[in-house]
Every structure is written in C-alpha cells, then in structure tokens.
Amino acid sequence: MESRSDDSRKSSIIDLDDGVKQVKPPSGVWLESNFPGVLNVTGKLSGKHYVFSGGGTVVLVDSEDVEDLLTKTFGGNSCCGSGVKPLPYFTVV
C-alpha cells in the first residue's frame, strides 16, 4: 500500500566523460507516515515542504530534517483512561 512521490523518487543522473553516466542515488531518508490523513510538514532545518498523502505514504526526506520529524507525535491524550500512548508521525522505512 505504500506510495512514493514521483519527484522524490528520482535519482540524479550525472554525465561523466566518454559518455559514461553515473546514477547517483537520492540523498535523504525515506519516512513513512502513520498519520491517518493528508499531512503537510515543513522541515525545520531545510525549510523543505513535505506532503504525505495518507497513512502508509512514504516520502524521501532531507537528512537534516529527519531527526526533528522523528520526534513529532500525535494522539495519546486519550479522554477515557485506555492508556493509548502518543504515536510517532513517522517511522523510518
């Protein structure tokens, strides 16, 4: 059920001498959203805007934003004593 954004999926292709091309893998970390909805977040350090279109969506996130994003949680302040703990917004894929 994972879906990846086409833009973030692209690897960069570098032209070397003699017509040789080197494929450079995308830099960053793939994060999967646990949030059950569309989630728009901005990287604290890079300032980049990331859109997760639903729970289970995987997006390539700039390495410098990962640490901050992984600390973010949602839910958990349950009203009725069932003890549900906050969930992280993202998990590393």
């Binding site: 059920m1 999967e32 959203s33 646990n34 949030f35 059950p36 909805g37 569309v38 989630l39 728009n40 977040v41 639903g54 729970g55 289970g56 949602f74 839910g75 349950s78 009203c79 009725c80 069932s82 549900v84 998990t91």
Partner: protein
C-alpha cells in the same frame, strides 16, 4: 441457592453472580485490514491491530451505548390449530451510542461520514461531501469487568457501517454531544456462518478453566 423442593433433575447450569456495569471502550478499524486473530486457534475472528495504513481509532467518551439486533420474524400459522412455530432470521446488529469527544478530527470524521483530514500545523480540516458507501469497519468493544485480574468480555463486529443521520448538539452551558450514531453490523460472508455478524468472547481465568 438450592430450592427446598422442585429443583429439576439432571445436569443444571446456573448463572454466576457477576454483574457487568458501564459501557465498553469502542474501537474501529477499516474493514480492509485483517483482524488481529485471523482466526485464532479455535477458528474465531476477533481483535484489532493498527498499522500506518489502517489506524485503529478509539471512540472517546461514549454514553448511551446499546447493542440491538434486527430480525425478520414470521409465525407459521396453521388455520386449523394456530401458530405452530415462528421463523426468524437475523438481518443485522446495531451498536447505538452518543459521543462527547470531538477531537481529533481524524476520529470524528469517520463518525460523521466525512472526508480525509488534512493537517497543516496548526490546522486540521475535513469536508462533508457525498457519503462513501464503500467504507466498512471492524468494531471492537472490550469491557474489563475485574480490573484486579483483568477479566474481560469483548464484542467484535466484523463488518459495520455508520448509518442513519447524526445530530450535533451544542447546548449552552453543557458539553457538545453527537447523538444518533449507529454502527450497523452486516453479515460478513467471508467469516464462518456461526460468527458472520459478530464474535463475542469472555476471558476469565478463575472461572473458565
């Protein structure tokens, strides 16, 4: 308590002096997900396990919770002797409740049959448009009746849908409530026929040995 006289002979099962009180906790999850026990070692389907794609939602602060059934019932009337039997068929179960928690919208939107939530700090938004009739939920209702030892009962509805019109009450000087919520549980033909509508379970180590 034994009667002085008149007790039936033979094997008799009597009921226990354990009484249940209060509403269970209600959880829902998209029907597309598999139940936690799919099935368990006894062949029963029940329980939920949340994933990033299929979150489990806890419905908060419920009141006026009741579970009813809808059946078609017809008497077999013989014109010479009267009613000789009654034919019954179960149509669906209905879990009716009122909710007093409105947040987060990621839970509320399921109950009011709304669209997906978009979160952009500091806002959550969702719309009310046409109702998606393809959304079904598993409903899991555990009730712990002895908190010291963790004895509990569970009602698990396999395939339910929010039906009927809700009412959003906004009284002055009192908390908001969402009334008219009704989860109708249909026959899930993917399950064994004896548990098509629901699985009901009790866990009590001191009694069930």
């Amino acid at each position: 308590m034994s009667l002085v006289t008149g007790t039936p002979l033979g094997t008799i099962t009597s009921q226990e002096e354990i009484y249940l009180e209060g509403a269970p906790t209600l959880y829902i999850q998209d029907y597309t997900a598999d139940p936690l026990n799919n099935p368990d070692t006894d062949g029963f389907y029940w329980g939920l396990s949340g994933t990033s794609v299929y979150n489990v939602y806890e419905i908060g602060c419920v009141t006026d919770v009741s579970l009813t059934e809808n059946i078609t019932i017809n008497d077999v009337l013989c014109d010479n002797v009267g009613v000789k039997s009654t034919v019954q068929q179960r149509n669906f179960l209905e879990l009716v409740f009122t909710v007093q928690s409105f947040f987060p919208f990621t839970v509320l939107r399921h109950m009011v049959k709304g669209g997906a939530v978009t979160r952009t700090a500091p806002t959550d938004k969702f719309g009310l448009g046409p109702i998606n009739n393809n959304l079904n939920y598993m409903v899991y209702c555990p009730k712990v009746y002895d908190t010291d030892v963790g004895d509990y009962v569970v009602i698990h509805l396999h395939k339910a849908k929010f039906v009927d019109a809700w009412t959003w009450n906004m009284p002055f000087g009192n908390n908001w409530t969402l009334t008219g919520l009704k989860l109708r549980a249909y026959a899930d033909t993917d399950k064994p026929s004896v548990q098509q509508f629901a699985t009901i379970m009790r866990s009590d180590a001191s009694v069930i040995v």
